[in-house]
């Protein structure tokens, strides 16, 4: 036994004996760190006293009623949806084309396409955000609405592709061969064989794209002028200039949208698909 081994031996024995327990502690502690703030947020949306007082004197649904009668907040939701729904549709169509092309064909620039479809995740949002406002508004002079929808499409493509591409790759292509052998052409085969098989993945990609677009802030903040704010921009203004307990309620709305969308997406695919890189 070397000198180093003699020094480390007690630590090795300790790790051996307590590894499993330490793992449990780490898991519980980190999950608490991740979920307690969310729990606080939900709880505070029922607090009577307002934002500052914790613990609250009593619980109430008052702020939900305030929220439901607040036209500005509801308008912001509608504004968000008029952007997110078309952006999601376009993004899913484009991501499916990327997945199909990358999976099926070898063509010059194939790896560039993959790089382009990944880069928006990596380039800091603020950098792309200002680049977009310079080009869309400054150079092209696009209307605000068009600029924001395009920005949301760019933002969501990488994530949708990340989910849709693996479903294409894991699809058994012999089914397509069989379909073509039986006389179907490429379009029929895609519609009747490929699409039903990859459809869950595409829907999952769409749900995640929608969630992302619904929450999108940075691109929207830069690209969109002073017009009707989306919900994230609205809440940003609220937090920065006049916090009301209503913000807690809007937070719960965001949470509900995100959790239900992601759970639906996960039930359609596998969790590790989202985790896969």
């Amino acid at each position: 036994m070397s000198a180093v081994d003699r020094v480390t031996a007690p630590f090795e024995r300790f790790a051996q004996a307590h590894a499993s327990r330490m793992a449990t502690v780490v898991i519980v502690a980190v999950l608490a760190f991740l979920w307690l703030p969310i729990a606080v947020l939900v709880f505070m949306s029922f607090a009577d006293g307002g934002v500052l007082s914790f613990p609250p004197d009593q619980l109430t649904l008052r702020w939900y009623r305030v929220f439901l009668s607040n036209d500005a907040a509801l308008d912001a939701i509608v504004t968000t949806l008029t952007i997110s729904i078309p952006a999601t549709g376009i993004s899913v169509a484009l991501s499916t084309m990327i997945a199909y092309a990358v999976d099926r064909y070898v063509f010059p620039g194939r790896s560039w396409l993959q790089l382009l479809a990944t880069l928006p995740i990596i380039v800091p949002l603020v950098v792309t955000g200002i680049a977009m406002v310079l080009f869309f508004n400054g150079t092209l002079g696009l209307p605000d609405y068009v600029s924001v929808v395009i920005a949301h499409v760019i933002r969501t493509i990488p994530f949708a592709t990340l989910v849709i591409l693996p479903t294409f790759m894991s699809f058994d292509r012999r089914l397509e061969e069989a379909s073509k052998d039986l006389g179907a052409d490429e379009f029929e085969t895609f519609r009747q064989v490929t699409l039903p098989n990859v459809f869950p993945g595409i829907v999952a990609g769409g749900l995640l794209a929608f969630t992302l677009s619904f929450n999108e802030f940075v691109y929207t903040y830069f690209v969109k002028g002073s017009g009707d704010p989306t919900l994230p921009v609205y809440i940003w203004n609220q937090i920065r200039y006049n916090v009301t307990p209503e913000v807690n309620v809007i937070s719960v709305v965001f949470l509900a949208v995100a959790v239900s969308m992601v759970l639906a997406a996960v039930s359609l695919t596998r969790v590790d698909l989202i985790a896969r890189r």
């Binding site: 914790f54 380039v123 800091p124 603020v126 379009f187 802030f217 992601v262 590790d272 989202i274």
Partner: protein, 329 residues
């Protein structure tokens, strides 16, 4: 398969007759009816494209390629061009935006601060995230559920997650009130560096756990067994087998945390104090209040350079960042 000429009927039902076949025939007839319509034209198109593979590839890869180039890559190039113009888009050519930035002690201090915070955040997130991923992969059976619980917060609004911490950290907020009830002094952490670190750790932790998790799952468990059979304890096995074998995932996680932290403005704006300026906030100012777009563009280029250098380093060291969903290793 025999390559003999066959009629349509034979193709659909090569054998037998009777009612089922009649039914099938009717279906074929209906299909044939639409085929002369929209589907027919689409079929003609696909036949046309099948005979021209290049055109076919172009028709599928072209639109997303074009959109990503025109609305993502070109704007970044436009930013580079604008960064050399004075005061406004289309202004006189100048290097002033860069010289002004790189000779200003204030801005360089801000860059240095941003760098230090990003390093701290990355170290914390990598440590905690790897510990969590390792615990889940090696010691838990309910990996899917746990992974889901880790990912879910990532999909809620970034601003909402920051707001949650405002609730907790502000003076007389949840944290201080809880400490108060326990008879401990208040911390009033909001608007401090600590608050910024907590906020960043909170938002990036799920993001970093994913590549860590992926690389740990791909690790061959036999290697660990072999190491233990050869007499290495768990710590030595970790340091000489597990960590080196998952280093690609670690590098990917580090890059995924460092880059967005370096460019962030939301977290320091909401959780940091007035002297906790980060470089992303300077850009935001140029676009939202100072309205010197070219100067903001120049700072954007400076950030991009940092990002590119980091990516090149990471690729050299072996992080698998590109190729969405493609090769994992």
């Amino acid at each position: 398969m025999a390559e003999s000429p066959r009629s349509d009927d034979e193709r659909v039902s090569p054998s037998g007759d009777g009612e089922t076949v009649a039914g099938t025939d009717r279906e074929v007839a209906t299909d044939g009816g639409t085929a002369s319509g929209v589907d027919g034209r689409v079929s003609d198109l696909t036949t046309f494209l099948r005979e021209r593979p290049r055109l076919r590839t172009l028709s599928i890869a072209g639109p997303p390629y074009g959109i990503l180039l025109f609305f993502f890559a070109i704007p970044l190039l436009a930013m580079l061009v604008v960064s050399f113009q004075a005061d406004r888009i289309g202004g006189a050519w100048t290097l002033r935006n860069y010289t002004g930035f790189l000779t200003s002690e204030t801005y360089l201090t801000v860059v240095w601060r941003t760098f230090l915070i990003s390093v701290q955040v990355t170290a914390i997130v990598a440590g905690v995230g790897y510990g969590l991923a390792y615990s889940i992969v090696r010691f838990s059976r309910r990996t899917t559920l746990l992974l889901l619980l880790v990912i879910l917060p990532f999909w809620t609004s970034y601003i909402i997650r920051m707001y949650a911490w405002i609730n907790i950290l502000q003076s007389d907020g949840v944290l201080d009130s809880t400490l108060n009830l326990a008879g401990l002094p208040a911390l009033s952490l909001l608007y401090t560096d600590t608050a910024v670190l907590i906020g960043f750790t909170y938002v990036w932790l799920p993001l970093a756990v994913l590549p860590f998790y992926a690389s740990l799952t791909n690790l061959d468990g036999d290697l660990i067994e072999a190491s233990k059979d050869l007499g290495a304890g768990p710590i030595r096995t970790f340091l000489s087998v597990t960590l080196p074998m998952t280093i690609n995932g670690v590098i990917t996680g580090i890059v995924l945390v460092f880059i967005p932290t370096f460019g962030s403005f939301i977290t320091p704006r909401l959780l940091g104090g007035t002297n906790n300026i980060m470089i992303g906030m300077v850009i935001e100012n140029q676009f939202k209040s100072a309205f010197n777009w070219p100067f903001g563009a120049a700072i954007g280029i400076v950030i991009s350079v940092v990002v590119v250098v980091l990516l090149v380093l990471a690729t050299r060291l072996g992080g698998g960042l590109f190729g969405a969903g493609g090769e994992t290793s």
